[in-house]
Amino acid sequence: MPKHYRPPGKKKEGNAARYITRSQAVKHLQFSLSSRGDELLLQLILVRLCILKGIFPREPKKKVKGNHHTYYHMKDVMFLKHEPLLEKFRDMRAYEKKVKKALSKKNRDLAERLLTRKPTYTLDMLIRERYPSFIDALRDLDDCLTMVHLFAALPAIERDKIDVKRIHNCRRLSHEWQAYVSRTHKLRKTFISVKGIYYQAEVEGQKITWLTPHALQQVLPDVVDYNIMLTFLEFYETLLAFVNFKLYHSINVKYPPILDPQLEALAADLYALSRYLDANSKAPALESQAASSSGSEQAEAQENGTELEESELRLAQLQHQLPSNEPGALMHLVEDAPDEDEDDEETKECKTLFKNMKFFLSREVPRESLLFAIPAFGGVVSWEGEVSPFNESDQSITHQIVDRPTQGHRFLSREYVQPQWVYDCVNARIILPVEDYLWGRVPPPHLSPFVDNEAEGYVPEYAETIRRLQAAARKEVLPMPGLGKEDLDDPQNLLAEGIISRTEAIEAAERKRKMSILEKQYHDELKMELQGVQYSSVSNANKQNSAEDMEAGEKSLSDLQQVEKDHANIEKVVMSRKKRGLLEAMKIGQEAKRARVGLLKERKKRIEPKKSE
């Protein structure tokens, strides 16, 4: 007997009314109208529908039916109940029965005829419903991209219903996405972990992170329920197709791209796509040229606007017939042409990172990943293969990516670097010195760009080196930011000027201080180098210097901090109880983090002498 007895006929209320268990939901949705029995199948349909509609089980505060049930919210179930797809599923089940009946009656003709007009469904409306605007879709693209990239690398297995066709589709979609990101230089970060390669791109202001598997044979562990995975994949495939469509149209390229069959056959899809993109986005530019000066042959070809498609095809073919070193040049031409003004600062930076560099990939390096990453930062790349744009013997190659212990024949005109160099350059946004990354050497550690060293409070050694290099590189190009020295140097002055932006001022001062320390360090080092002093003594001297600087800064900041403290106290008093609680919780978290950083440092300190022994 339940704890609180409710007389029969009285309405339920509270959690009992708001949540129902999964089997109740199945009953509620009347899956079982058509067929009694096989509960498992019905549950599968429910799970499938839930995944497609984006409805997931919840955890009620009070589990009325017991702890071992899965609960759905009543509203969600009602939402599912009004889904037209439900009807569609029923139709399909009924149709399947027809086919089965025909088959078991040995009526082969009828069965075949029925199979040709099988009812299908589309998920377009669902995508529209779940993502009302394009930004929404982009925001939720992380999982989608990871899943599609994963399935692009999986083997097709009949038993798990993983079709060859679907895998090819996933491959195509993932390449299309990569081609877009690479073409528009939207890639921002890469990180090679044991699990796979993480990428982060920034599309329309949204940071999209995804994970691609390494180019290894993927195994299919049996703990995974592939039915569920495939349902997710189904939705994601549709979503990514629509997103790609929208993105391609935004750069004036026709969406389902027409690829060079030869390239496709040789599994150089990405390259084919990038060529297609280049060719296609060049066409409008040419057209505009034609309007201004109607003289060239290509313009004539372009003038029949009605046969745009054919001419594009021809263009692609023309491009293919060009000698092997030409496409690179063509690609280069296109680089400068399109929408320069639209790009933001970062994209420009990314675009010019590998400018004027020519890469050649050896057989042993991960080709797909590098073919994606290098063009995304403005480089020209080729590889060992039949259809590659240029050969290994090309004299204009500046970098060859190798990953083998010894290199037999070497060209003096180029650098032989390990693939990690490319990724580290991309993350640091500068061209790092190649000495550490030469073939056969153990390169410096590959750091994660996703870690915010400032927030973490712990900066690895190599990150420090990279930062110094970055500062050096910036020094060459543009003067140090923060020219208004008088304002920033004197915090008191700032305080008098405007108390409102106090925190900002503090931050600025801090930044300024750090910058100046760095600058000073750099200058000192240069000086020392001139004098020919050993590095180790330099670092010691530097440490002292920086320590002094720190002290000076602390003094000037101390009264400012006092003011800040008082202000915080007043604010704390004013705050509501809940907010205060939250603040305290945050403080506890920060404390824990600081403790962790301290531990790390201490550990390192302890390890250092051991290493030196």
Binding site: L33, V47, I51, F56, P57, R58, E59, N67, H68, H69, E87, R128, E129, T146, M147, L150, A153, L154, F191, S193, V194, K195, G196, Y198, T209, L211, P213, L216, Q218, V219, L220, P221, V223, V224, D225, I228, M229, F232, F242, F245, K246, H249, Y255, P256, P366, D403, R404, P419, Q420, P443, P445, H446, L447, S448, P460, G581, E584, A585, L599, R603
Partner: protein
């Protein structure tokens, strides 16, 4: 006007009085009537005679409406169920309307396609803002705050920096060891059969009846009956005295409490503060929990996948030699579970059991995973590092190492032994190990060992214990010498012999009888 009575007509044939004047009378009557009522109605125009009644006649209307609204029960049944298709004849109008709408929509799409020039693919830009989405867009709350793609910590890089790698490694070890400990130290499962004697049915009745509670009741009742007046009076008096005493005490207590009011207030304040703190702690803990795992959605708990981190010897710095993870499908599936999108099942949480099936392969796998851990302990900094790296394990690390020797699996035995070797750095700790029963277990392990590696570890641990005189004496008492003597020398491993010799020398130093 009634008929006049027929009178005799004799001689009165021409009498005018007999002429009927009915019509004249009628006319007169009518005209007088009209004159009285105000004019004849036949001449009046019909507009002035009739008018349209525009005031509502509610009752009638209601009646009509009611009849119109009425639906037969059978029809209503069909209407209520949205899954039953309506009978075609009754919805002729509607269907016409729909058929008009559909081509329009088609036109829209086709026109759009023409515009875009993508008619071959059949794809449409669904976010162009043109075809307004009819269904209401519900803003759905995310089921979890965990991001869809969690970036691994920097220690999981293919070429990590030393510190971050150690950090990630330590976490992985802690997870692994926790699993092992939970398996080892957890409560033993309830045995399926209980040894014992069979209880007869007759005896069972006796067992039930042997409560003896009703005897007491009877006694009390007897006393009540037997008690005489004197007895009762005395009891009453005593009761009264007690009551008075209690009252006095109460008053005293009250006055005392009033005196200590500030203290009480302070106490309450303290309690409140504590309560608030506890609440805060709980809130923080809940937030943390939600960050790392989903709410409990079903019967089974979410089990996180092991951290993918390279072992120390696997780090080569070369991308070509990288042993990458090839089970990304599982990772994605776990991520779905972690975000609460799907319910964890028994299958997905059941990894340990699967591995346990094949002990040999498990050992290999575990060794591959934990190999560097052992190495750390061999070459590393011993206890300090272990304490630091394994903060989750608590202080009774030694106890746990000793209990590792219990385990049937030789790998864990070796691990326990090697850890004991590193703990035994001074006499106090050595004795502690002996007190915990470590020495006996090591001897047992040595006796029962089947392979050289295990023997070697056991001997090494014993050698580590032997510098303490007390411990050596204990070992001698436990019959160590015979066990050590009976240990076969290995052809490959010269170290076993070396350990054996050093142990026996030690026994000789303390003048124990070695030859026996």
């Amino acid at each position: 006007m009634g008929k006049k009575a027929k009178s005799s007509r004799k001689g009165k044939k021409a009498w005018r009085a007999n002429i009927s004047t009915e019509d004249i009378d009628e006319y007169f009557e009518k005209s007088t009537k009209d004159a009285l009522s105000g004019g004849s109605l036949t001449n009046v125009p019909s507009e002035s005679l009739f008018f349209v009644d525009k005031s509502r006649d509610l009752s009638v209307k209601r009646k009509i409406e009611k009849h119109r609204e009425k639906v037969l029960y059978c029809d209503s049944l069909l209407q209520r169920n949205s899954f039953v298709q309506p009978v075609p004849s009754s919805t002729k109008k509607k269907s016409k309307k729909r058929s008009k709408e559909v081509p329009k929509a088609k036109d829209d799409v086709q026109g759009h396609l023409k515009e875009e020039g993508v008619s071959d693919s059949g794809m449409v830009d669904i976010w162009d803002g043109k075809g307004k989405h009819t269904g209401k867009t519900k803003k759905k709350s995310k089921p979890s705050i965990i991001p869809a793609v969690e970036v691994e910590p920097p220690g999981c890089s293919f070429n990590p920096s030393f510190e971050s790698h150690q950090d990630s490694l330590a976490r992985a070890v802690a997870d692994e060891m926790q699993k092992i400990y939970r398996h080892e130290l957890g409560p033993e499962p309830v045995p399926l059969t209980v040894p014992g004697e069979v209880v007869d049915e007759e005896e069972m009745y006796f067992l039930d009846a042997d409560n003896g509670s009703d005897d007491d009741d009877q006694n009390i009742a007897k006393e009540d009956k037997d008690g005489d007046n004197e007895h009762e009076n005395r009891r009453d008096r005593r009761k009264e005295q007690q009551r008075a005493k209690a009252e006095v005490k109460k008053v005293e207590q009250l006055s005392k409490e009033i005196d200590s009011l500030p203290d009480i207030i302070q106490e309450i304040a303290k309690e409140d503060e504590e309560k608030q703190k506890r609440h805060l702690r709980r809130a923080v803990a809940k937030q943390e929990r939600l960050k790392s795992r989903p709410p409990r959605l079903g019967k089974h708990k979410y089990e996180p996948a092991p951290v993918q981190v390279l072992l120390s010897e696997e780090i080569s710095g070369s991308l070509r030699k990288l042993k990458g993870c090839s089970t990304l499908a599982r990772d994605r599936f776990k991520s779905l579970e972690k975000r609460g999108l799907i319910v964890p099942t028994a299958k997905s949480g059941r990894q340990l059991v699967v591995i346990c099936k094949d002990e040999r392969s498990m050992e290999e796998e575990a060794e591959r995973k934990i190999g560097w851990f052992l190495k750390l302990l061999f070459f590393g900094t011993g206890t300090v590092v272990a304490y630091q790296f394994l903060p989750y394990m608590g202080d009774n690390l030694m106890q746990q190492s000793v209990s590792l020797l219990h385990v049937k699996d030789p790998l864990f035995k070796r691990m326990g032994a090697s850890r004991l070797t590193h703990f035994a750095i001074d006499d106090e700790r050595r004795m502690k190990i002996v007190e915990m029963g470590g020495a006996e277990k090591l001897l047992n392990m040595l006796g029962a060992a089947e392979d050289d590696r295990t023997r070697k570890e056991a001997l090494k641990a014993l050698v580590a214990l032997s510098p303490s005189d007390e411990a050596t004496r204990f070992l001698h008492r436990a019959g160590a010498i015979s066990v050590i003597r009976s240990t076969p020398n290995s052809s490959e491993d010269a170290e076993i012999e070396k350990y054996k010799l050093s142990l026996l020398n030690r026994f000789q130093d303390l003048r124990f009888d070695v030859s026996s």
